[in-house]
């Protein structure tokens, strides 16, 4: 990273992959700021929002810590926000997991895989980039088409046929015959269903691309 003075926050609300995300940011030579309440959010320029477990648990934790409105406010302020795994799922409108109302920052809903293949979908899978997406160029610096990322999840935001509802889809992956959003972005709000903090050099590169992204 060129700008190592950047104030990058990582939301710590008890999610299991907080440590892995912290180590990934440190590998990019940035000293991240731990954000565990709404007040700390005011002091960061970009925020990474990790997540492991269920969307229901994650939303309950956010509510308990008075972070729901604070996160929505952060996103609306235009500062870049990146949700990872469950952190991405709760950026959407709703999750089938526990019938959970989510943050409503992006226009998708999350449902369980319906397939004969084993659940959770676990392992390395390729991601096809959406060519038309405005952030495509910024997100894919030094990342080839069909790059592989590491996934672990049982629920996903499936790709809808209605094109109006898919302008946020940055990358698509497929499992059990179902296409789902692997990466989403709408201006400053980004999300990765895959564990980019555990997807090797390519995952770290995607985090770096997020940290370098500027609204133009």
């Amino acid at each position: 990273m060129k700008n190592t003075e950047m104030k990058v926050g990582i939301l710590n609300y008890g999610a299991g992959n907080f440590g892995s995300v912290r180590r990934a940011i440190e590998a990019l030579k940035i000293d991240p700021i731990e954000v565990s309440d709404a007040n700390a959010l005011k002091h960061v320029e970009r925020l990474i929002f990790p997540g492991v477990g269920s969307a229901q648990q994650a939303m309950a934790e956010l509510k308990r810590r008075d972070l729901v409105e604070a996160l929505q406010g952060f996103a609306h302020s235009g500062r870049p926000l990146l949700g990872i795994c469950v952190g991405m799922q709760v950026l959407g409108e709703w999750s089938e997991e526990g019938d959970t109302v989510c943050l409503g920052l992006l226009p998708f809903k999350v449902e369980k895989f319906q397939c004969d293949d084993p659940i959770p979908h676990m392992g390395w899978n390729s991601v096809a980039w959406s060519r038309e997406h405005p952030s495509q160029e910024a997100a894919t610096v030094s990342i080839a088409a069909d790059a592989n990322f590491y996934f672990v999840h049982s629920y996903a935001a499936f790709v809808e046929k209605d094109e109006k509802k898919s302008s946020h889809i940055l990358g698509v992956s497929s499992y059990g015959g179902q296409d789902f959003c692997a990466l989403v972005a709408s201006k400053n709000i980004w999300g990765a269903q895959c564990h980019i903090e555990k997807s090797g050099r390519i995952g770290l590169r995607l985090i770096e691309n997020f940290l370098c992204w500027e609204d133009v």
Partner: protein
């Protein structure tokens, strides 16, 4: 498309990576932190670390080493050996592991499987089995514990039937007969297991060349554990993956 995984396995004894044959006669291979970093940067899809003496010495895995490994290796990490209770598992995950592998403790304390998976999710629990062929068992295989030193009363398939519903995300099947022999995985064992389970199966014990991995993948293994053949330097994860690709197996080639 979901890729077949190749997973280097690091057996740790006294802070060093070691490798034995049929679970015995261990030789020194190197530093676990350096080796994990090397493998993670050279195509390993995951790293498995077994603290092979922790269980016998009745101590927890070395959390400080896990932390050092996780700071350098940005692929999923699985820790096995010495996990005695929920707190050990929780410390492993807190130190940077994605998964814990339960072996000797599982038949003694099966409720631990449920305790860990209900908190961290089933994907965090790998059930690891050391099995040896035994004609007196209905499936033809007996479950062993304590690093293959102690036979249990469990027939392998009966054990799976009992343990899987407790909350297991993945299985790792180690063949004691084939361990370190480099003559191929026990494919008969793999077929038996695949016919019974739906969770991903990691095959372990006996890889000697790329052909053996291809055979296991064709028979339905989701991942293959490798140790001797990559530690000795006679081949590499990259070369193994190139061979798998030539044989039509989808593996991850970008890293």
């Amino acid at each position: 498309m979901l890729k077949k995984r190749i997973i280097p396995c690091l057996d740790i004894r006294d802070g060093r990576v070691t490798k034995g044959v049929e679970f015995k006669n261990n030789i020194d291979v190197g530093c676990p932190v350096h080796l994990s970093e090397f493998y993670s940067q050279n195509g390993a899809d995951e790293i498995v670390i077994y603290d092979i003496t922790a269980s016998v010495e009745k101590r927890a895995p070395d959390f400080a080493v896990i932390e050092k490994i996780a700071a350098k290796s940005f692929v999923p990490i699985c820790i096995g050996g010495g996990i005695r209770d929920f707190s050990d598992a929780s410390h492993c995950i807190g130190s940077g592991a994605e998964k814990v592998s339960l072996n000797s403790i599982a038949p003694r304390k099966p409720e631990l499987i449920t305790e860990i998976s209900s908190h961290f999710g089933v994907q965090a629990v790998v059930l690891s089995l050391d099995v040896q062929s035994d004609a007196s068992c209905p499936s033809g295989y007996r479950l062993f514990i304590n690093g293959g030193r102690l036979a249990t009363e469990w027939d392998m398939l009966r054990w799976l039937e009992f343990a899987l519903p407790l909350g297991v995300g993945e299985l790792c099947i180690n063949s004691i007969d084939q361990d370190g022999k480099r003559s191929g995985y026990d494919l008969n064992l793999l077929r038996l297991v695949k016919a019974q389970v739906r969770v991903p199966v990691i095959m372990s014990g006996g890889a000697g060349e790329a052909k053996h991995l291809v055979e296991a993948f064709v028979e339905g293994a989701d991942a293959a554990l490798v140790a001797s053949i990559v530690h000795s330097g006679e081949t590499s994860v990259q070369k193994l993956k190139e061979e798998c690709t030539r044989a039509g197996i989808a593996v991850r080639l970008d890293w």
